[in-house]
């Protein structure tokens, strides 16, 4: 029995244990403060579903040795272009959502390919360069949002009649299509079945991919490029594939996120899109040398539950002081620093 416990503990690792304990404490406080638990849990589940695929997007680049994909905004932008294009045509419901995906995916493939070409030239510094690629792309696209020939009045600035708004509501197009699909309530907790299902499908697909020939080749490239080369694997092609896959997942991820959020955010909003995802996968126990689907799932659940619960609880305890945004930033960036500097045990 104690062996089993120890085993479970070693599987989990100390950082995750601390966070779980912290979460339990927060729930206890919430109960004591007579907060509405149902809402907290519902929000947590929704946030997990919203962010799952964005976190999943970290795995391919980690696996192929490129590192954490700080250039996630590249894919996020592709997703947003898909979303606004689909909205421009006035498509509603699932038609709108899937059209956005169909447009976003080829764009993400192209953008991911170019991004991968760039990363290939800066081997060893992918993460730093990726961060700045993300920043540059977001800034560059600000001009596109202003000048792009979108004409749907619901989307463009009311004054002047030109340029997309900073935040566009999805109310009348595909807002919450996944969340509401087969949704139901138990104990006052709303379960967004479609959202969780959609996320689950992608987790399963990626898990299967890493057990396929190409997925194993990608993992091999990440763990020892020379071994990969001597096994006849084209190292550069695998790295490129990893980056493209990550970019495509980011594009899909932001669509899922936006439909659940109910808005598409343009301009500088995607600037920091990578950081919560990076923090999640790291907190899940992934490292630059090893990252699994399990890490992505645990990380998404822990990080986003923490964010959802911690803020209202602290807010209630501190009597209305508005520290939510500050706390959110400290938490996600603090976790990135912690995880990246932590000495890895072998």
């Amino acid at each position: 029995m104690s062996d089993k416990l120890r085993n479970a503990y070693e599987q989990l690792g100390l950082p995750r244990l601390i966070i779980i304990v912290f979460l339990l404490v927060l729930f206890a406080v919430a109960v004591i403060m007579r907060m509405d638990l149902a809402i907290l849990i519902k929000d947590s589940i929704t946030r997990i579903g919203m962010n799952g695929i964005l976190v999943l997007a970290m795995l391919p680049t980690l696996a192929c040795g490129v590192g954490l994909n700080f250039g996630l905004p590249v894919g996020v932008i592709a997703g947003i272009v898909g979303a606004v294009t689909s909205m421009n045509w006035g498509l509603k419901g699932f038609a709108g959502f899937f059209t956005a995906m169909v447009i976003a995916i080829p764009l993400a493939v192209i953008a991911g390919y170019l991004y991968a070409m760039l990363l290939e030239r800066v081997q060893g510094q992918e993460m730093m360069v990726g961060t700045y690629v993300g920043f540059s792309v977001v800034s560059g696209m600000c001009m596109f949002w202003l000048l792009a020939p979108y004409r749907n009045p619901a989307m463009i600035f009311a004054l002047g009649g030109k340029g997309l708004r900073t935040t566009i509501t999805l109310d009348r197009t595909f807002g919450k299509v996944l969340n509401d699909f087969l949704g139901f309530s138990v104990f006052d907790i709303y379960i967004p079945t479609g959202l969780l299902l959609f996320m689950g499908i992608f987790f399963v697909l990626i898990a299967l991919f890493f057990k396929s020939k190409a997925g194993l080749a990608m993992r091999t490239v990440g763990s020892n490029p020379m071994y990969a080369r001597s096994s006849g694997i084209n190292v550069q092609r695998m790295r490129t594939m990893g980056v493209i896959l990550s970019t495509v997942l980011a594009a899909i991820g932001i669509l899922v996120y936006s439909q659940s959020y109910g808005f598409v955010q343009l301009y500088t909003a995607p600037l920091t899109a990578a950081f919560p995802a990076v923090a999640s996968v790291l907190i899940g126990g992934a490292s630059l040398r090893k990252a699994t689907i399990g890490h992505a799932i645990i990380g998404t659940v822990l990080f986003h539950t923490l964010l959802t619960i911690a803020l209202p609880v602290t807010q209630t305890v501190l009597q209305g002081a508005d520290i939510s945004e500050i706390a959110r930033t400290i938490m996600s960036n603090g976790m990135i620093i912690y995880a990246l500097t932590r000495a890895e045990r072998r």
Partner: protein, 534 residues
């Protein structure tokens, strides 16, 4: 200088983790003497030098036994700095020069003459001004001793290799108290003409009273300049002699010679012959740093075990790496008459070859993956084994049960000692890791297996096991094996023929029972002298 020796080493012994590397080595050098220290790779020369220079690695591994005596006084050399203070200088095999600095700056590095100035008076001597005219004058003098006209103001980067070597020497002789210079394979990277200049410079230095310890493989150079010769083999001094009594053939024999017990190997149905060549390599060049292959021709008989020997740096390791496509190569490699595209590992592997790398941890293994994965991955990627059926080749899923079954079989056949097929390879011993590498190659069921340094860094028992495995697969499956090794003894144990590589080409192919002297001479680039001796 009571007994007239500048340096005496007395009964030096040293072991690393239970393996004895040096056994009671003694050595005396007089001022102005050129003393050659010759021996094969692994004879213990480097370890001896590490002791002489007080390198950290010696203390970290438990120190050494014996005594170092300089000018008749026993000394403890516990750091390279102490060696320098005692007047012992080293000319390195790899250049330790800063490319962006001028020749004189390199020569004077960290020993620059300086003058005081205002800032240094306030903030201390670290801010003193360099005395450049003096630096240049000193450098000119040092270079002058070598009778060499190198511009002391030229940048070191972009200089010919030979000149860099001289700058390195100039730096050592510029040190005022230098009495003993160690030359570690100084001519290995030089062209003939540069090498002879260097030998002249050594003679000139010795005539000024500086003692020289000359470490080399090249016996003709030894014969040209050395006053005395010490021959080291397996960590022991096997012989020492003045040059007047030395014969090239005798040195070569002593250097290589050891009793070879060639076990009786199982017979084959038909012996390999020149009639049936499985592989032809022509005008082959490989750009592998430190192991360049320069226009080599070699044919491999079907079903044989071909050994490739030679000294380090001559390119023996480059051959397999080039054929398999890991390092850029040119030339022609044909298997069964059809040419194999170069620089493409996949094509090389598809043509029925497999490779066990000399760099086990760097190339041969995925240290953080399971034994199972290490064994099957190459065959899966190249040959599509261990995959479940599927429409798209690259998206076919792994076949877990086939993988496991095969891994267990390999573990049993090769006797891999582990806790199970899912154990991480990092946790295995060197010998077992090597068996995993072999298992990886055997899984490919190759017709031709390239094995590089299969016994490097593994213990004695495991070595024998690995060799036995190679013989077994050769005999039972008719697998042609090309084995590269620095250990001539093991090549002579199991190979049918042994090709010796010298300067990137095959200098000769010998039967395993050829006399020691022949191997020694060919390795030392004296293949032509073979006829004279015999």
């Amino acid at each position: 200088m009571r007994n007239g020796h500048v340096l005496e080493l007395k009964g030096i012994s040293k072991g690393f983790f239970g393996t004895t590397v040096l056994k009671g080595v003694s050595l005396d050098i007089r001022p102005g003497e050129i003393h050659a220290l010759v021996g094969e790779n692994g004879a213990g020369k480097s370890t001896l030098m590490n002791i002489l220079f007080g390198m950290q690695v010696i203390q970290d591994t438990g120190g050494f036994e014996g005594q170092v005596v300089v000018d008749g006084q026993a000394v403890t050399i516990d750091s390279p700095r102490r060696a320098m203070e005692l007047g012992i200088g080293m000319v390195h095999q790899e250049f330790m020069l800063i490319p962006g600095f001028t020749v004189s700056e390199n020569i004077k590095l960290n020993r620059e003459p300086t003058r005081g100035n205002l800032a240094s008076r306030i903030f201390g001597h670290r801010l003193e001004t360099l005395d450049e005219p003096l630096m240049q004058a000193d450098s000119r003098m040092a270079l002058g001793k070598l009778a060499l006209s190198i511009d002391e103001m030229a940048l070191v980067g972009g200089m010919p290799v030979g000149h860099m070597q001289f700058v390195e020497i100039a730096r050592e002789i510029d040190k005022k108290n230098v009495r003993l210079l160690v030359f570690d394979e100084p001519t290995a990277v030089l062209a003939e003409s540069e090498a002879s200049l260097l030998l002249d410079a050594m003679k000139r230095l010795s005539s000024e009273g500086i003692a020289i310890l000359f470490i080399t493989h090249r016996l003709d150079e030894v014969m040209e300049v050395a006053d005395n010769i010490t021959i080291l083999r397996d960590g022991e001094v096997v012989s020492r002699m003045p040059r007047s009594e030395a014969k090239l053939g005798r040195i070569a024999e002593l250097m290589v010679g050891r009793k070879i017990e060639r076990p009786v190997l199982p017979p084959r149905k038909s012996e390999p012959s020149d009639e049936d060549m499985v592989l032809r390599i022509e005008n082959f060049r490989v750009d592998m740093p430190g192991e360049r292959v320069r226009g080599l021709d070699l044919s491999v008989r079907r079903g044989e075990i071909l050994g490739i020997g030679g000294l380090a740096g001559h390119g023996k390791v480059g051959i397999a790496n080039g054929v398999i496509g890991l390092y850029p190569s040119t030339g022609r490699v044909a298997k069964d008459g059809s040419q194999i595209p170069l620089n493409d590992p996949k094509q090389a592997l598809l043509s029925g070859m497999a490779f066990v790398s000399e760099d086990r941890r760097g190339v041969g293994l995925l240290l953080d993956e399971s034994i199972e994965m290490n064994i099957i991955l190459t065959a899966m990627q190249v040959q599509g084994k261990f995959l479940r059926p599927g429409a798209l080749q690259s998206l076919r899923l792994e076949d877990r049960s086939a993988m496991r079954e095969h891994a267990l079989e390999v573990m049993r056949d090769l006797d891999i000692r582990c806790t199970g097929p899912t154990q991480l390879v990092r946790r295995l011993s060197g010998g077992n890791q090597q068996k995993v590498c072999l298992g990886r190659a055997f899984t490919m069921e190759p017709e031709v297996l390239w094995v590089s340094e299969p016994t490097r860094g593994i213990d004695v028992g495991a070595k024998q096991l690995v060799l036995d495995l190679l013989v077994k697969f050769n005999r039972e499956h008719g697998m042609t094996i090309v084995m590269t090794s620095s250990e001539l003894a093991e090549l002579r144990k199991i190979c049918d023929r042994i090709a010796i590589v010298y300067r990137g080409q095959i200098a000769g192919i010998l039967p395993p029972d050829a006399p020691d002297v022949d191997f020694g001479l060919i390795m030392a680039g004296k293949g032509a002298a073979l006829e004279e001796v015999s």
